[in-house]
């Protein structure tokens, strides 16, 4: 691998006239499939070399990188990943090239999973093209539970029964640390109680479903269904607890499944995935996560066409299927789920399609990063019992209204 990198660089030096395109992406995993996808593009465009640069895997740190780089009008990268929560913010800042002439908003809504259109179309224009998606799902132990619960009540009962049989067992682990993951968990509970996210331009927090959702999460901790460690747990902490055989249920992103099924894992073949439970028993809505690709608005005019072509190549059907098979990244494109190679080589991804179709975005607003900071603190206060749910929601609502009105 290192030798191929070296020879590529040498090749770039020999033909200095070539256009160099830089892609900033999140680390994908141990496979050179991504390299091969880029190579295919270089073969189709002999005047272009593509350099792939990985970002820190923490989405928070990556956000800061783009904040400082793009505020300084950086031109040293052309195509880059944008978290679903940042698109509105970056578009409003003028950092994303308007892609509508190449990928019309109507075709985004037609070709990609339902909720993605709202996330990447801002003021009627396409600012990013969805690449791969993520959503919250319920993990359950097939050796302890006959079938996954569809209502909250069922989840509590099943967990309690399993805990009675195995005293060391936790019922349900989820992400309760004060960070972005907590906001995702709480929104899933709000939707599961029949709540909505926004009313027009206003974030909706002081509602009956939101109160019920926070009560429910807090009661999970109070009744011992969820262990106290949940309030300091992010994805990996819950994944370790679950994989160590210490929990019946877990809320997590699909990535954890590859870990539990890994060679040598004691849970291999004992884990099932199901939609999140809800109050009524309808399959729940997970938070929509994942990455989009965008073109840097500061890129030189004469490079733009090539950058857009690269973006379209990376979000093509073929590339989407390749990423799903090599890295387990779930395609954002609808047609990828009907692809025979996806169904045969990445059956888990194919099976998750209904969950992605139901997934909902977090509040879509350019102020999201500011709002999330307020929500994290107040949601954390509610689930740890520092404040009653009503009070936390009232505080959050007034702070959020202030942030959005003041601007």
């Amino acid at each position: 691998m290192s030798s191929s990198c070296r020879s590529e660089r040498a090749g770039a030096r020999r033909s200095a006239r070539k256009i160099e395109l830089v892609v900033k992406h999140q680390p994908l995993g141990e496979s050179d499939a991504f390299r091969r996808i880029l190579r295919a593009f270089e073969i189709d465009h002999p005047d272009v070399t593509v350099v792939a640069e990985a970002l820190p895997s923490s989405s928070d740190v990556a956000h800061q990188f783009f904040l400082t780089a793009l505020e300084g009008q950086a031109r040293d990268f052309d195509v880059f990943v944008v978290d679903i929560a940042w698109v509105a913010e970056f578009a409003r800042a003028g950092w994303l090239l308007d892609l509508s002439p190449f990928v019309a908003p109507a075709s985004v809504r037609r070709d990609f999973l339902a909720a993605l259109g709202d996330a990447v179309i801002f003021e009627g224009k396409t600012f990013a093209v969805p690449w791969y998606v993520d959503t919250g799902v319920l993990y359950y132990r097939t050796d302890l539970v006959a079938r996954p619960p569809s209502t909250y009540e069922e989840l509590l009962q099943t967990a309690r029964e399993a805990q009675r049989a195995h005293r060391q067992l936790s019922g349900f682990v989820w992400q309760g640390r004060q960070y972005e993951g907590l906001v995702c968990n709480v929104y899933e509970a709000i939707w599961g109680h029949g709540g909505q996210t926004m009313q027009g331009d206003r974030l909706l927090l002081q509602t009956e479903p939101a109160r019920a959702a926070l009560h429910y999460l807090q009661s999970l901790l109070a009744t011992g269904i969820s262990p106290p460690s949940v309030t300091s747990a992010a994805e990996e902490e819950t994944r370790r607890a679950f994989q160590g055989g210490r929990a019946v249920f877990m809320r997590n992103w699909p990535y954890a499944f590859a870990e539990t099924e890994r060679q040598g894992s004691s849970l291999r073949g004992k884990v099932g995935l199901a939609p999140l439970p809800t109050l009524t028993g309808e399959p729940g809505h997970g938070v929509l996560g994942g990455y989009q690709l965008a073109v840097n608005a500061f890129v030189d005019r004469d490079k733009r066409d090539r950058a857009v072509a690269l973006l379209r190549h990376l979000t093509s059907l073929e590339a989407s299927v390749d990423l799903a098979v090599a890295y387990g990244r779930s395609p954002a494109r609808r047609d990828a789920y009907d692809h025979p190679r996806l169904m045969s080589d990445a059956p888990l991804v194919a099976a998750l399609r209904p969950a992605f179709e139901r997934a909902r975005p977090r509040p879509v607003t350019p102020y999201y990063m500011m709002l999330s900071d307020v929500l994290q603190g107040e949601f954390s206060a509610a689930i740890t019992g520092v404040r009653a749910a009503e009070e936390a929601l009232a505080r959050a609502q007034s702070l959020v209204d202030h942030l959005m009105d003041a601007r």
């Binding site: 913010e89 309760g176 004060q178 309030t231 300091s232 740890t384 520092v386």
Partner: protein, 294 residues
Amino acid sequence: MSALPSTGEGKERRAGRLMMAPAVLVLVAVALYPTLASIWLSFQRLILVFHERRFVGMGNYAFLVRDARFFSALGHTVYFTVVSVTAELVLGLVFALLLHARPPAKNLLRAAILVPWAMPTVVSAKMWALFFLGENGLPFFGISIFDVNWLGTPGYAMHAAIAVDVWKTTPFVALLLLAGLVGIPQSLYDAAALDGASSLRTFFAVTLPVLRRILAVTVLLRALDAFRVFDVVYVLTDGGPANTTETLSVYAYKTMMRGGDFGYGSTLATATFLCVLAMGGLYFLVIDSEEETR
């Protein structure tokens, strides 16, 4: 100034000023300019991402005095500073006395005690975070301390952060105090022994009074440092749960770097700066008045 300086003296003074100039320039560039720039920013509404930049005068400060989150962050910062500095001082003094008592392998011990201090805070805080997370941390460290969810329980989380800070900074305090102990002339102890003073009496009548100046400097250094605490909290809890470990620096960082609100973030930074300035001023006032009463 009673007499006019002679021309020779004036020349010398000019030369002296000229030689000082580079140092003053450096100070202005690296200390004064950023401070003033930050104060200037605090009078503006500046949201980088939205290209919003306008002068709002005292607007940010008007919001600050009504911002409950600011006051709770201030409270957490004061609590963190008082508790951690007190603990570091007591423990540091104990270690300094032990090291001063000429233990075997003295130099090795002196070097060993510095290890926590030499470790980058982010690294040691991450290590402690894995300890505190118990069995959900790294399997290798599978010990939970007293079976308490340290980082996720309000009330406990702040003390976890304090414990890590004390663990890390006590060696620094011990070394400063040890330097003070080494400087106490043996003759004082001999005189105390001649008067038949017990070792406890000697400690309170000789050691502690002589150490007073260095203790005061240590408190100042540590308090100013602890008041600006960021890295320990950022790694351990990120301010959670329920913002109960959020200090002023963490709040300012989140406002600026995550929210992109540089105006209000600078207001928070300026408020922190003023607190630290006041602490320094108070210190010199106390020292001066002591000097005068002597």
